[in-house]
Symmetry: C2
Subunit: 612 residues, 2 copies
């Protein structure tokens, strides 16, 4: 029944041969890879505003300069990745580039940073999206956690259904967002030329902290989350039509230009018109209200913001499971993460991502502002490692003009590396410490897991084992019985078909019951020994285990007796509550002993099915 519900939700299983990938033209590719990058202006703007507003109107006058700084960063990062795209036409994720060029540890650090980054992308995008729509509908403000989790559930399901459905749904919101935002900003520019600037000193709340370089740097660090997602295209080069690298490179340039325009445009207009937001509104929402009023166009803008942020969260559902599956295939993560599910997607990875995101959204109360400080560290760390890897790559390849290419990527690495420092120092107490703790612990786990798989392989290996093996001697079987009834007969008959060394054992809880049973036993099974074990403490398990251990010691032939368990299976689940579940208890206890004591006793489970 559960299975049927699941199939209804995610669709019927797909056969393996359907796993062919459709190539994307540039229009669809832009929609597929850009949402994360484009949508990050939503929270980046918000972070810059929140970072500066504490310093009053004087602080807010630094918005546009900070925006210019971040846009320059964007240019550096985009150029660096443009080179990566051409160097790795088969897809150059940070993990692959770092691992291939810098070695295992840097690769794993990049991998861990990426995984954290993807979870945060999902969490921040969803909460920021909910904040955008809650700015329009204030009653939603107190249901931010629920709303974010609802959206998460929807995109999880869409993604579990598989890539094809996911692809078609996603194009629309991206172009809707570009259309409404570029339109709004152009309209705003016209109004700006006609109306003249607003006065920040009139509308900004009073400064509660003095202007300081540290606080401006912190606002800059927070705003730099705008850059997350720029690397997406370099991961997905093989999805482009031929010539892949050429098309991907062009798309990256278009995306970077669009991002720059949106980011500078919105920041510039906000400062020009002296727009300020209250506590239950985002700064972009306040800007939209100022530019287009509170009518239907405003609601369209907020809805398109919510939609693109949701689509951005969705990109994590492509990226996280893919990177996790690569790490799992290399043995650094549980191998279930590399299983292609019923619907040809990495379903386990998606569920893991959904679980982690839920945890973050709930722990941080659905507040994107609390989540952002965790965010930039991982992204810039992955950038830095990837760019450093590229430097090594060019030098090794030693192709024409490798020095220039190396220099460009080296500059990228330097800039993003500096950004790691800036973010860590300025946001450390705000939450960056969490990411700084998480990355090493993830890397440590990667090593532990890899070690475990290596040890398992060693222990299972047949290396040095001769192909001719002595079979184990005829097995001794022990059948615990609760009386003489049909389930007992079934179990004894099976035991007879398997071996002729059979002992039945009865655990006597009520004194005297053993003697009664012995009389009946003689009548039905005269040839099988029945041992009656007293149980002064009324437990079935301990006397049974002691009996098994004792007989093994007595026989002392190096083998353990196998346990033949007569198991009465009720016709319906609820009826299980009416039985003592002794068979289940025995199996569970043995499982535990197996784990803790290496107890390799074979269990032969003989079910007897009740029909009503």
């Amino acid at each position: 029944m559960l299975y049927r519900l699941w199939t209804w939700l995610v669709g019927p299983p797909l056969p393996t041969q359907e796993a062919a990938h459709a190539r994307l033209n540039k229009i669809r590719a832009l929609a597929a890879f850009s949402p994360d990058a484009l949508s990050s202006i939503a929270y980046a703007n918000q972070e810059i505003f929140l970072g500066l507003v504490a310093m009053g109107s004087l602080g807010l006058s630094y918005s546009f300069p900070i925006g210019l700084g971040i846009t320059s960063l964007l240019a550096v990062v985009a150029i660096s990745y443009y080179q990566t795209i051409h160097a790795y036409p088969s897809g150059g994720g940070s993990y692959i580039v770092a691992r291939e060029n810098l070695g295992e540890l840097p690769g794993l650090v990049a991998g861990g940073a990426l995984l954290i980054d993807y979870v945060l992308t999902a969490a921040v995008s969803l909460t920021a999206g909910v904040e955008a729509i809650a700015s329009a509908f204030p009653f939603l403000w107190s249901y931010r956690v629920e709303a974010a989790l609802f959206l998460l559930a929807v995109i999880t399901l869409i993604n579990l259904r598989g890539v094809k459905e996911a692809g078609t749904v996603m194009s629309l919101p991206v172009y809707l967002f570009l259309f409404t935002y570029l339109g709004m900003l152009a309209f705003g520019l016209i109004r700006a030329l006609l109306e003249g600037p607003g006065d920040l000193s009139v509308v900004a709340p009073a400064a509660i902290e003095p202007l300081s370089l540290f606080l401006i740097l912190r606002a800059f660090a927070s705003g730099s989350t705008a850059l997350t997602g720029v690397e997406a295209i370099s991961n997905g080069v093989p999805a482009f039509r031929k010539p892949e690298s050429h098309n991907a490179g062009r798309t990256l340039i278009v995306m970077a230009l669009l991002m720059g325009a949106l980011f500078l445009g919105s920041l510039g207009l906000t400062q020009y018109f002296a727009v300020v937001a209250g506590p239950q509104e985002t700064i972009l929402s306040a800007l939209a209200r100022r530019l287009v009023g509170s009518g239907p166009v405003y609601y369209l803008v907020q809805t398109s913001t919510l939609l693109i942020l949701t689509v951005a969260a969705n990109t994590s559902f492509a990226d996280f499971p893919r990177v996790a599956s690569i790490l799992a295939r290399d043995g650094y993560l549980p191998r279930q993460l590399s299983n292609l599910g019923d619907r040809l997607v990495f379903g386990n990875g998606m569920l893991l991502l959904a679980g982690d995101t839920t945890l973050l959204v709930v722990l941080f109360g659905g507040d994107s502002h609390l989540l952002v400080p965790l965010f930039a560290v991982g992204a810039f760390m992955a950038f830095t490692l990837s760019q450093s890897g590229m430097v090594v790559h060019w030098r090794r390849k030693n192709g024409p003009g490798w020095q220039v290419k190396s220099l460009l990527n080296g500059f990228g690495a330097l800039v993003t590396g500096t950004m790691v420092m800036v973010v860590v120092v300025s946001k450390f107490t705000h939450g960056a410490w969490i990411t700084l703790l998480l990355i090493p612990s993830l890397v440590w786990s990667f090593y532990q897991i890899k070690n475990h798989y290596r040890r398992v392989a060693e222990q299972l290996s047949l290396h040095g084992l001769p192909p001719s093996l002595q079979p184990v001697p005829r097995l001794r079987l022990v059948v615990p019985v609760s009386g003489v009834h049909r389930a007992t007969i079934e179990a004894i008959n099976y035991a007879r078909a398997l071996s002729d060394k059979i002992t039945a054992v009865y655990i006597e809880i009520e004194p005297g019951s053993g003697e009664k049973l012995r009389a009946r036993w003689k009548q039905w099974f005269p040839d099988i020994t029945l041992v009656v074990e007293p149980s002064p403490y009324r437990s079935v398990i301990s006397p049974l285990l002691e009996f098994l251990d004792r007989t093994d010691r007595e026989h002392n032939d190096g083998t353990l007796a196998a346990l033949v368990l007569p198991e009465i299976v009720p016709a319906r689940g609820w009826q299980g509550l009416l039985h003592n579940q002794t068979a289940w208890l025995i199996k569970t206890t043995l499982l535990y002993r197996r784990r803790s004591q290496g107890y390799q006793r074979v269990i032969i489970d003989v079910p007897y099915h009740l029909k009503k």
Copy 2:
């Protein structure tokens, strides 16, 4: 480890022969059986006050008359049970008396009513106790649920440790309560004679409802919860010293007199001094403050109230598991409830009671006033059935003076039966409907469970089966393998020791992997057939089950092939997360199929233990 924690909490197991019962003298017996009855004045007073205060001072002037009515009821019920004690010296609980004299259905109704009653005794006593102490320490008022659950946890643990410890702890609070309350009331009586009455019309809040017979009747019905617990002694006659019935009867009379004195004394003084309580105080607390001031004596009174109410909740831990175990032994409840646990107590019944009580306390927000309406219905229903049963008992026995005895119990049945009506009608919308729904559903479950056990016995019975049985033919074994490694060798060796009809099956998820395996297989197991089954949907389970069903059909010898499962057992629990758990998945799926389709396939589980 869990087991060790458990042993530390409840003590080491006790052997069966220690299950002898110490007989109680009258002093200890009173302490053992009266707390429920005596303590009920705490919530009965409160209910009468809350029921009347809505009608203002005029309403409150009915407190003492209502008290007189309830005390007369008490006399009737006590006389009825005095007779039961002499008729059933081996213990005459309502279930036994009703079942023996009136038949199965009335017995089960009484049993169901009693079980509900015991859960409510625990829930109401604990919440009322917390309210008593929160009246003294108001900050506790907002932690009522947590405090009640804490007390519940403590008495659950004490009871799980076993009867002896429970007995000694309980005497003290009862006599402390009697001492402080009788002293306080006597002191109050003296002050009443010296000081003269208070004026209700001055202190009572304004009436928010007009005086009405219905509301007075409702207050009377609520107050009648004072009677719950009177039947306790009649259940426990065998625990008294010889002559049991004589001693038990005397104790009952003493208890009834004490109850009457406490109840009438407290109600009378409350009305005489015109005591009124605020929203975060109980009326008994207000009375105590009026009589002895807010000094240490007041705190002693409130503490002793909390203690006796806790001890009253504790009596449920003796009664509920006992009645449940009798019902379980008769086949009306899961038989686990009749298992004597490690500590010679009905531990499962105690845990069930603790669980149900937790549920009630949480659902009703720890408010005794919301719980009380559910309460009296069950108690009076059990009273009525028990008294009616006694009428039949006397007539059947036909001893000297049976008509008088019959008449007395008949009058008791009539009075308590009327009370059922009164309570149901006046408290229906306040929560009595819940109990009215619960009792029939419990009775329905009793019948379902009984039916199930009867059908199981029929299906397991050997009736008509000849003692000479044909053994099943030599078994066919199927070994699913994931490759050639040590766990495979272990499983194949076991299979070889059990049978010579062995087939290995490999589920091929990655196309082509089957051919590679076949080559290695030939080298290691040349004599065993390997079947490669393709799995286009990448599932292990379905192709395996289809293969098993197909081979069974092909052989068509009336038997199912047994499944030999090579199971790799990791050295530590967390490592399980790193494996696909295919063996576990196969077992779970088969378990489910067993339930739903009567699938009696034998599973032979061959563990291979990893050492690191």
